[in-house]
């Protein structure tokens, strides 16, 4: 089985041709970042010809003529479905477990139509028993299948914490390497629109200490499809965090097959003055703040860290070495969140390169309130990001 892992960086064309409206991303020239050659043996060999080395034929100019644009436009949830479908076509061992994934098509339509195509066993509608069906996925993975577990909302997976921690995370180790658990655990999380405290949880902070799992967060249709495919192909258990409010993002993605790296971060906007590290929905708040900042004369470098565990310290480090100032913007809680870990990690590794203490903007340590105004104040807003950058750059 070919394991094609490529790293592709997405950069913006230029600051002036910005079409960063809230929920659509125009086609951008895609530049391949320096490819990483890994000397560690990876399963499989390169399958000649099937996957191109460049995701999109280089298009330097005119992003305006729609007719000649390569690729196809779709919404983020459709991109997830496309990635899932491609992998299910490619490998009959791939199956999906979850509540309402089959006949209902998934509560966010990520698995729509798949049960009709693949049958009730490959797209399994489970009873409401998260701990048990996650454990079932572990058992199925140990005996040869490659299941994907969907949590209808990430918060529900708290009920599956026993299985995710003890079995997904640790079983490969406690069995002395005999059994692999190639599962993907995915679902929507994050603060939505007045969904209430329990449906607005950010589980990345709870799961990050579990040894033996990888965590990634998608934020665009492009990286959603690429990360979904990479997660399914990975031999490790991977938790893929999606966000409730990002499912309707529209983007043009390549027609050719592509797979992204699970361990790499994404350069969203290169800059010189400050490094802003973010992931998932906060990326859009950051880019909105970036518009304001650019107008005020700042040049922020924005990196979507994508890989929440482990951190891509290379991309992050290179950025810190360039700008010497770091701002972390996340939706996680202040206490023990991804930002807290990232702050510690950067301090440990790049302390000499920092001109100022790291600033971390996180959500308040508050159960997300229902009222719209209160909810708005629990998460980081673009205005706060602008203020933070201004303060950071004064030092």
């Amino acid at each position: 089985m070919a394991a094609m892992l490529q790293s592709l960086g997405v950069t913006s064309a230029s600051v002036t041709s910005n079409k960063f409206t809230a929920f659509s991303i125009n086609s951008l020239p895609v530049i391949r970042s320096e490819s990483r050659t890994v000397s560690v043996a990876i399963n499989g060999t390169r399958k000649a010809g099937k996957v191109t080395t460049k995701a999109v034929a280089a298009q330097a100019e005119n992003p305006t003529s729609a007719a000649s644009k390569p690729g196809h436009e779709l919404l983020l949830f459709e991109a997830l479905r496309e990635g899932l479908e491609e992998e299910m076509d490619r490998d009959p061992r791939v199956c999906v477990f979850g509540e309402d994934v089959g006949h209902y098509g998934g509560s966010y339509k990520v698995t729509k139509g798949l049960a009709d195509k693949y049958g009730d066993l490959r797209v399994l509608d489970t009873p409401i028993a998260e701990n048990s069906f996650t454990g079932m996925a572990v058992g199925a993975a140990m005996t040869g299948l490659r299941p994907i577990v969907e949590g209808m909302n990430m918060g529900f997976l708290l009920l599956a914490f026993n299985q995710i921690s003890d079995n997904c995370g640790m079983l490969h180790y406690t069995s002395g390497g005999q059994f692999t658990i190639p599962t993907v655990i995915r679902g929507p999380g994050g603060v939505g629109r007045q969904l209430g405290a329990e449906h607005s949880q950010r589980l990345e902070s709870y799961f990050q200490s579990i040894p033996g799992i990888q965590m990634v967060a998608c934020s665009t249709p492009y990286n959603a499809k690429g990360l979904m495919k990479a997660a399914i192909r990975s031999e490790n258990p991977v938790v893929l965090f999606e966000h409730v409010l990002l499912y309707n993002l529209k983007e043009r993605i390549p027609d050719e097959e592509y797979v992204l790296s699970l361990e790499e971060a994404e350069m969203v906007r290169p800059g010189e003055h400050v490094t802003i590290l973010t992931y998932s929905r906060m990326r859009y708040h950051v880019m909105q703040a970036a518009k304001t900042l650019v107008n005020k004369g700042y040049d922020p470098e924005v990196i979507d860290i994508r890989s929440l565990k482990p951190f891509d310290l290379y991309t992050i480090g290179n950025s810190v070495k360039k700008t010497h100032r770091v701002l972390i913007v996340e939706e996680c809680m202040r206490t023990g969140g991804i930002g807290a870990s990232l702050t510690a990690s950067i301090n440990e590794n790049f302390h000499d390169y920092l001109d100022a203490p790291i600033v971390c903007l996180s959500s308040q340590d508050v159960p997300t309130p229902y009222a719209g105004t209160l909810e708005e104040w629990t998460v980081v807003q673009p205005a706060q990001i602008v203020t933070a950058v201004e303060q950071l750059c004064k030092q």
């Binding site: 990483r36 066993l121 048990s132 079932m136 140990m142």
Partner: protein, 430 residues
């Protein structure tokens, strides 16, 4: 009888597989459950209504007191086992007992540490079930898993090594007493939290069904899930009974009811202590069997396993058994009534089988002694092997955390952490 009340349960619609729906009531009567095996109906105690008061007595209504009587009655009929089978069963049970006794010795000599849970007294359940399986069938257990692993075929030296924490152990010393795994013999663990293994077993059974229906393979692999009476009050147990019956998964849920969950008596923690009754509530047969009698267990196991192989779905088997030692080697075992312990000691499954084999002239005393000697030597050799095996090197620390070590990520120098030479020495920063 309880089963009449449940006869009206509608069977769930099957998923894309052509199966005839069966009425629940039919599955419960012992004679039809056993299929065509010609056995006297009295062999299995089926539930007669037991008054609530009786449930509270110190000993559960004995379902096995007819053991010896039954066997005498059957002397004119065909025996339940052949000589070869008898010797295999005897050897396996004796192996389990001798191994566990040696574990206790080694623990007190400081060769193994932590929590060690011994299986003495329950050998009939492990042997009765596992000796019917093929190599491809899966077994899932709990922390009391040494003997399940041995019965499934994991060599004693590998299990002993694992207990000593050596690299030659079945899990390279990384699992320990409560995490016995073997890919070769399809032992899927070894779990420390009770109930944690049942969904894993359900998943393995799901794979078997998947292979049949999606891959269109000729797969009749069966999974056995072993767990105790305490687990039967846990959510994962009920959730999995539901899913297994719903999808007719090829699994047998084997309850090793030894009446005690550490110091919690089963009667004090369970509203209805008759666990087998919980099967029909989910649409599968529930059977109660004397877990101190390997032949009875084996007969029930045969039917349950072939039911699963035929694609008829799961079975819940409650084996009434007893552990002669405490919950673990750290348990002073002061709560259990000495009279109860004495009662079950007279029903030692190994002694019972020995008696059966000799009385029915299947083998001689000398042959059994030869087996015992062979096993004793095997255990001695296992201890020697474990003693002489090396302890894990530091380099083993970071291996096996991830199947794909790229999961440790990319370091500040741009290289994957696993490419760092210190990674293989176990000293890399991760």
């Amino acid at each position: 009888m309880a089963c009449s009340a449940t006869a009206k349960i509608l069977q769930p619609l099957s998923i894309r597989s052509a199966e005839k729906s069966e009425s629940c009531g039919k599955m419960l009567s012992p004679s039809s459950f056993l299929g065509s095996t010609p056995l006297p109906k009295k062999l299995f105690s089926v539930n007669k209504t037991i008054s609530p008061l009786a449930r509270r007595s110190a000993t559960i209504v004995a379902v096995s007191s007819d053991v010896v009587k039954e066997k005498k009655l059957k002397s004119t009929q065909n025996l339940l086992i052949t000589k070869e089978e008898g010797l295999v069963l005897y050897e396996d049970m004796y192996l389990g007992r001798a191994f566990e006794d040696m574990c206790a010795q080694m623990y007190y000599r400081g060769k193994m540490f932590g929590f060690v849970h011994l299986y003495n007294g329950q050998e009939a359940v492990s042997t009765g079930f596992i000796k019917l399986l093929k190599k491809e069938d899966c077994v899932v257990s709990t922390y009391r898993d040494h003997v399940h692993a041995l019965s499934k075929g994991v060599p004693a030296r590998q299990v002993m090594s694992e207990l000593f924490g050596k690299t030659t152990g079945c899990c390279r010393g990384q699992g320990g007493s409560m995490h016995m795994f073997s890919k070769e013999h399809n032992v899927l663990g070894g779990f420390a939290f009770i109930g944690e293994g049942i969904p894993v077993a359900t998943g393995a059974a799901f794979t078997s069904k998947y292979k049949r229906e999606v891959f269109k393979e000729d797969c009749d692999e069966v999974t056995l899930a072993f767990f105790g009476d305490g687990t039967c009050n846990n959510g994962q147990f009920f959730e999995c009974l539901n899913m297994a019956a719903l999808w007719k998964l090829p699994i047998v849920f084997v309850v090793e009811n030894n009446l005690w969950a550490i110091g919690m008596s089963h009667l004090r923690s369970t509203s209805d202590p008759q666990i087998w009754k919980k099967g029909p509530a989910f649409g599968m047969p529930g059977v109660h069997v004397d877990g101190m009698d390997v032949l009875k267990v084996r007969e029930v196991a045969k039917e349950a396993v072939s039911r699963a192989r035929r694609g008829e779905g799961p079975t819940l088997v409650e084996c009434e058994t007893y552990r002669f030692r405490g919950h673990s080697l750290a348990d002073p075992d002061e709560l259990r009534d000495p009279a109860e312990k004495a009662h079950y000691a007279t029903r030692d499954p190994i002694t019972a089988l020995k008696k059966y084999v000799i009385e029915n002239k299947l083998a001689s005393e000398a042959e059994l002694k030869a087996i015992e000697k062979k096993i004793d030597e095997e255990i001695e050799e296992a201890v020697e092997f474990a003693d002489e095996s090396p302890v894990p090197e530091r380099s083993q620390l970071l291996e096996n955390v991830f199947a794909d070590p790229k999961g440790f990520g990319i370091g500040p120098d741009g290289k994957y952490r696993c490419e760092d030479p210190k990674f293989t020495q176990g000293t890399a920063q991760v």
